[in-house]
Amino acid sequence: MDWLTTVDHKKIAILYLLGGGLFFGIGGIEALLIRLQLIKPMNDMLDAQTFNELITMHGTTMIFLGVMPIVFALMNALIPLQIGARDVAFPFLNALGFWTFLFGGILLNLSWVMGGAPDAGWTAYTPLSSSMYSETHGVDFYTVGLQIAGLGTLIGGLNFLATIITMRAPGMSFMRMPMFTWTSFVTSAMILFAFPAITVGLVLLTFDRILGANFFDVAGGGNPVLWQHIFWIFGHPEVYILILPAFGVISEVIPTFSRKRLFGYSSMVFATILIAFLGFMVWAHHMFTTGLGPVANALFSISTMLIAVPTGIKIFNWLFTMWGGQVSFTTPNLFAVGFIPTFTMGGVTGVMLASAPADFQFHDTYFVVAHFHYVIVGGMVFGLFAGLHYWWPKMFGRMLSEPLGKWTFWTFAIGFHMTFFVQHFLGLIGMQRRIVTYLPNQGFDTMNLISTVGAFLMGVGVIIFLVNIIRTSMKPIGVANDPWGDGRTLEWTIPSPPPEYNFKQIPLVRGIDAYWKEKMAGNTEMAPSEPVGPIHMPSPTILPFIMSLGIFIAGLGLMFSGEEFSNSFMSLIFNNWIVCGLGLLITFGCMLLRSLYDDHGWHIEPEELEEEGV
């Protein structure tokens, strides 16, 4: 119950981690099924329809429900700590964001048991995704589920923006913020601009499918290429929304375990912003083969290639952070160090794809599958593993086992390269993506086998990680504030896990890497910026949960509004919009309740703080 009503950012972080972990597991199982089907030519383990549902759900789940929430888990757990704040700006909204994400995700996955999962690819190109060609409710689950989940993301992003802008501790100017906070800030800004685009697209597609509108229907004067533009205006920034926080994690982990400050901090900040900006300018590089014409193709080719420049800056800055330092190979740092070559490989194939005429050959082949997995798994997932191992003691007060962590790294990394390296060549010798099977004797067989074996090795890595978590959670809580010994930022100045209020006294920040700066000056603690006083805390509330439940019900109601049920009661309540209305009523009722009832929260008094003996 505690967990349903919490508004504490640290607990919400754990909820995001659990939710994200769950969906990541589902997406992973889907990936393994896909790989199993492709293990040999003309395999008929899965039928074609199921296969298309699997690739669609795998992509959608991984991106929207798997890694994105885990990023949010880290952001929630760390941003307030890193900037010296007691919580996020809007704790209530924070909880609401989580619950809408979870209910959206559940709705989407219900499609597996409620008559057909979406089957038009995670990009859901129309007309394939229109009700004419995708007749089950699958794509409805996709549009409605993602709208609900996307709402949560948007709320979260706004909240982080407000938090970072308004709640930094005294002395923490923008140019003193830790890199992870910086990248989270830029990511949140990107969410603010990118998510409305996909939401609009999804709403239009919902209208087309459920209410018979014609936005993407040629016969009714619509245009399917419009969907591609809307989708990618969101979709391209989205991949940077994923990768930037990983950059942030790497920029925290490498300095700590090299015992050096980040090389070229200001150029890192500048590069991050530039990447975000360019990220919005290049969407049409996903559409070179759509036939936009040579002028557009040339422009988008060049603007895409330009992203290599700020990315290169980052890579070299990381390398030079380690230069002259004392690099220790802890598990987080193994992942961080492993990130650099892997991500570089994903990056260079990205530049290759940017060359439009060459992309006519690469596009929609396994070369592309290899490229984006190098970026998303080799970059983002490695970054997440680094971050999770690094901050685990801070979040849970227990160290993950180092030997198990190293096993995770090696199995996962080797499995990863086995899976995806050969896919570059598969693409180049003519294997298109999203195919349920392939004829023998095309030269595809061996490489597909290797790829599948590698995928299972990655699975082993993930299982070792889970074992590590379970074993660790048996241990008693109680690691030091700064268990790695070389923490540089504010989160390492407070106990692990942090108390509910984070900081008894808000610290005074005197430079970049605030904690490290104090350590160098011979201090063991931060100087406080305020006297000890009562701390204001928001009250827990169940409203966010119920509000999200309401939206979930409304979503189901909307989807099945046109359905012909065999049961007349069901027809009555669905076809007359009663279910949909009821859901909305619940949600708006909660909003009303929240506005009318003034909750002032509560206070932790100074005496209590002393008692805890911090």
């Binding site: 039928d47 074609a48 329809q49 296969f51 038009a120 190109y125 007309p127 394939l128 060609y133 040629v218 399917p224 090299s258 050096k260 400050r261 090389f263 070229g264 200001s266 150029s267 083969t289 036939g291 040579p294 040339a298 290639m305 420049v309 290169g312 800056i313 890579i315 030079f320 380690m322 002259g324 330092g325 690099v327 220790s328 190979f329 160090v337 650099i340 570089t344 260079v348 194939t349 290759m352 060359s355 005429p357 060459a358 006519f360 050959q361 929609d364 082949t365 060549f425 180049l428 010798i429 003519g430 298109q432 999203r434 195919i435 392939y438 004829l439 004797n441 095309q442 030269g443 160098m520």
Partner: protein, 349 residues
């Protein structure tokens, strides 16, 4: 300066070996890495250039990383704090400028090639015009200059520009013959995509649909058959011949009523299904049942393939739009008879 040249000297053989490796990859009629025509060649040159540049980047990054990781490992007993370096303006400028230069090296030929590929050959009198129409899950090829239509096997003469116009009847597909040219989508919105390629050598090239288009997306393949000019002319003449009738009158009637409502054969029939004229001499049935009379592991005579298709089209290509002949009321004998007739319907060219 001297030193840098030394590095290049080491890199060059590596690049040469790499090119050889790439060129050894895949089947000639399928692989992007073994281009069989000028368009694919242009694209392959760009791929080689970009891979080379990117390999240089990778080598530098990997070498640097390996060096740093070995040289600056933390040694036992190391307690002193390393010097905290802020950054280095000069270095940072260097690694901003170098990528910029590399990008420029790739950008210039890219732009040149983009415009070369964008050239419109549709008004070129010398070119063979082909209107490609994609359907779930088959390809239709119309030759307006000759007033013929075929499906699945695209016959072209060697060394002539083939000017394509692409469109679709249903969802988006993508027309791709890896060893002859990159892919281009077939759009449903009335925008007709145009491009062209040519094939200098005679041969059969594999084509594929590259855009997810439904359950049988992976089965939506086709063949491009490049033949001599004389053969092509013969083929055109043969295609225009009237239909060879079925001898058995009852079977001919069934065929006409049940099959020709959608399919065309010679001068008879409809156009909502693939044209079947000369299907006996095609490379495949339904694009994935490969015809082969050669004895051995993969013997699949056309007739067997046709029977397999006619007995249960859905199991061969799930989701396809052809009704199962059994559901249309055809008996096994009729199916076998039609399969035999079609298998023997060969064109001489």
């Amino acid at each position: 300066m001297m030193k840098r040249w030394q590095v290049m000297k080491r890199l060059l053989p590596m690049l040469a070996i790499f090119t050889l490796l790439l060129a050894g990859c895949g089947r000639e009629d399928l692989s992007v890495l073994k281009p069989q025509g000028p368009v694919a060649q242009g694209q392959f040159d760009l791929i080689k250039l970009s891979i080379s540049i990117m390999l240089v980047v990778l080598v530098i990054v990997f070498a640097l990383a390996a060096f740093v990781l070995i040289k600056f490992r933390r040694r036992p007993g190391q307690t002193e704090m390393p010097e905290q370096v802020e950054g280095n303006f000069k270095l940072e400028v260097i690694w901003t400028v170098i990528p910029l230069v590399l990008v420029l090296v790739l950008a210039v030929p890219t732009v040149k090639e983009v415009f070369a590929f964008g050239e419109d050959h549709s008004n070129d009198d010398n070119a063979i015009k082909v209107k490609v129409t994609s359907h779930q899950y088959w390809w239709e090829f119309e030759y307006p200059q000759y007033d013929i239509t075929t499906a699945q096997d695209l016959i072209i003469p060697t060394n002539r520009d083939i000017a394509f116009e692409l469109k679709t009847m249903d969802v988006i597909h993508s027309f791709w013959v890896p060893s002859l040219s990159g892919k281009l989508d077939t759009n449903p919105d009335g925008t007709i995509n145009k491009f062209s390629f040519s094939a200098p050598n005679e041969g059969v090239y594999l084509g594929k649909c590259a855009e997810l288009c439904g359950p049988s997306h992976g089965f939506m393949e086709f063949k491009v058959k490049s033949v001599s000019q004389e053969s092509f002319d013969q083929w055109v003449t043969a295609m225009k011949e009237p239909m060879v009738p079925i001898e058995d009158v009852a079977l001919a009637e069934t065929f006409k009523n049940q099959c020709l409502t959608c399919h065309a054969v010679g001068d008879q029939g409809g156009s909502s299904g693939p044209n079947l004229t000369g299907i006996g001499s095609r490379e495949t049935v339904a694009s994935i049942l490969l015809n082969s009379d050669v004895a051995g592991e993969y013997t699949n005579p056309v007739e067997d393939n046709l029977k397999e298709w006619l007995i249960d089209p859905q199991s061969v290509k799930p989701g396809n739009k052809m009704p199962a002949p059994k559901d249309l009321g055809l008996t096994d004998d009729e199916i076998n008879g039609i399969a035999e007739y079609l298998a023997n319907y060969k064109l001489d060219y």
